[in-house]
């Protein structure tokens, strides 16, 4: 009955979806270019890599699992402070374990918060994510004995990576370190996205009402991805602390939560590279327009947001994919 020429091979088809494309390999090769061609932009490149990792962590919950979050800076900030405090208060200066520690702390807080997150939807979800974000900011502000309050955390010292690579003045080590962090975080996320768990998350996003009807405890899935995402965001925050040797309340504020969503929307949600592309465009634009009044910077951000929602609901990558007439995930 079925035509052999038309009938797809299910195994081959599913396998092909997780395969590395030449574009991806070229993209990661291109991330090495700043070392050779734009050495004066290495600090910016490092900031982009950190923002991109943060955006990927948000994409996992927002783009893949469909949880709209307006407060993810709380995990970025918790990671940033965890990495800073372990160094400045306890003298633990080894960076990789510091990174791991920050990820664990942020992940633990994320796990606890996930019990609230999965209970609510719509407006209540927005308000709980927003509320938790604001609450964490106020808490950090009030606990100035630990966080340094509005002055920021002083006296952070980071030892050389592997005991060899010092964080140099030109930001070579910082970029290499941030890029490595981004790449590892990306690999992990890519693995998740192409796993059965990733499929289950897309199921939740596509139709949360159907999930119980196929026997799924979808809240457990959501808690799991929220925890993973919080840990990744924490690692991104820790990278910022370690490469700049400062941690301030700015890591926790609402603008950071909003900016990361803007980056993601700009690039395109639910496709990992969207966050990276969005972060790059956003950070480069802000760097180039640094001279102008921040109010006008936000005019363009606002204008762009409205434009993207009305004309390109799937972001730049989504728009490109449609132009190319190609359906990817």
């Amino acid at each position: 009955m079925t035509n052999a020429a038309l009938t797809p091979d299910p195994h081959a088809w599913l396998k092909a979806r997780g395969r590395w494309s030449p574009f991806e390999i070229a993209f990661w090769a291109a991330t090495l270019l700043p070392f050779f061609f734009f050495p004066s932009y290495l600090p910016l490149a490092s900031q982009i890599a950190i923002a991109a990792l943060f955006a990927i962590s948000v994409d996992l919950v927002l783009g893949y699992a469909g949880i709209v979050t307006l407060g993810h800076a709380m995990f970025f900030g918790i990671g940033a402070y965890a990495a800073g405090i372990i160094s400045s208060r306890y003298g633990w200066t080894e960076p990789l374990t510091g990174l791991l520690f920050a990820g664990l702390v942020a992940g633990a807080v994320g796990f606890i918060a996930s019990f609230l997150i999965v209970r609510v939807q719509h407006l209540a979800l927005l308000m709980i994510t927003l509320g938790l974000g604001l609450l964490t900011y106020e808490l950090a502000n009030a606990m100035s004995w630990l966080t340094g309050g509005t002055d920021g955390l002083m006296g952070i010292d980071i030892a050389p990576i592997f005991g060899v690579f010092n964080f140099d003045l030109w930001g070579r080590t910082a970029y290499a370190y941030s890029l490595a962090g981004l790449f590892v975080g990306f690999l992990l996320s890519r693995r998740i996205v192409h796993s059965s768990f990733g499929l289950a998350l897309r199921g939740v996003r596509e139709n949360v009402r159907r999930m119980p009807a196929i026997g799924s405890e979808h809240r457990v899935h959501l808690q799991k991805i929220y925890t993973i995402s919080a840990a990744l965001a924490g690692i991104a925050g820790a990278l910022l602390t370690q490469t700049t040797e400062t941690a301030s309340l700015q890591t926790l504020n609402f603008e950071r939560s909003a900016d990361v969503v803007v980056m993601l929307i700009l690039g395109g949600t639910g496709r990992l590279y969207g966050g990276i592309l969005g972060a790059a465009i956003f950070m480069i634009a802000r760097d180039q327009l640094a001279g102008i009044n921040p109010q006008y910077w936000y005019f363009w951000i606002g204008f762009l947001l409205m434009l993207v929602v009305l004309t390109m609901p799937k972001g730049i990558l989504g728009g490109l994919a449609r132009l190319a007439g190609r359906r990817d995930e």
């Binding site: 035509n3 038309l6 088809w13 599913l14 990733g198 999930m211 196929i214």
Partner: protein, 253 residues
């Protein structure tokens, strides 16, 4: 559980929304391999009854027994894992997933493997084979790798059933499986349903009396939330009260 014992039973289910009583004293039982039809005029509470049985709604009183166990307070997903699956009257699918992905997901959820995030989806080859097998049986193999939202409506109705079958149900509740499907296509759909394994008990809601009389071994007539009659098709066909409910229409079409 003995052979004679019903796979699914409801005992005196009651449910009201404010003043409106949507289920009154509904007592039913579905034996193994049943092919029962649930009919009744619009607003009789047919979909509500399915929602009560599957757990989307909680009854005000009464009991639901699945395979000899009381599941009245059991959450929806846990009932599904005990073998109680349903389809929806209005397509409740995963628009951007392909049929292959959707059905594979349902199988992985059944096997408890959907939470694994360290291995590629392609490594679950048993589940993929089973999914493709179900899709082939439901004549969806050719479109298995196209996004669901691009499929014709009739094929989406079939995918509703495929998703339910992937949970390996003992009891299958079909809420108007052919809703909105042209008459000639709905025959195809019900042939698929007729070919379901004998050990699955089926309860289906359907408005087309031709289909009801050719596929149902027993018919339950629901009116205003209560069971008016439960009997063989020949009895229902000739029942004066049923004729009255479907006034003018007769019992045939």
């Amino acid at each position: 559980m003995t052979a004679a014992e019903p796979v699914l039973a409801t005992e005196a289910l009651q449910k009201s929304f404010g003043q409106l009583q949507v289920a009154r004293d509904v007592t039913l039982s579905l034996p193994r391999g049943a092919r029962h039809a649930l009919i009744g005029p619009n607003g009789a509470g047919k979909t509500t009854l399915i929602n009560l049985i599957t757990g989307q709604l909680t009854p005000d009183s009464g009991r639901i027994v699945l395979g000899g166990e009381d599941v009245t307070r059991t959450p929806v997903a846990a009932r599904v894992r005990r073998g109680l699956a349903r389809t929806f009257q209005i397509n409740t699918l995963f628009p951007d997933l392909t049929p292959l992905e959707s059905v594979t997901l349902a199988i992985l959820e059944r096997e408890g493997a959907a939470g694994r995030f360290w291995s590629n989806i392609a490594t679950h080859s048993g589940a993929i084979d089973e999914a493709f097998d179900i899709l082939t049986r439901l004549r969806l193999a050719d479109v298995a790798t196209r996004p669901t939202r691009t499929l014709p409506y009739g094929q989406q109705r079939l995918l509703e059933i495929a998703l339910a079958l992937a949970t390996r149900p003992k009891v299958l509740l079909l809420d108007e499986p052919a809703a909105g499907v042209p008459k000639d296509e709905s025959a195809v759909l019900f042939n698929v349903i007729a070919q379901l394994p004998d050990d699955i008990s089926v309860l289906f809601i359907e408005h087309d009396m031709d289909i009801v009389f050719s596929f149902a071994s027993r018919i339950i007539v629901l009116v205003a939330g209560g069971v008016l009659l439960e009997a063989e098709p020949s009895v229902v066909r000739n029942d004066a009260r049923v004729r009255e409910v479907y006034l003018g229409q007769g019992t045939h079409g």
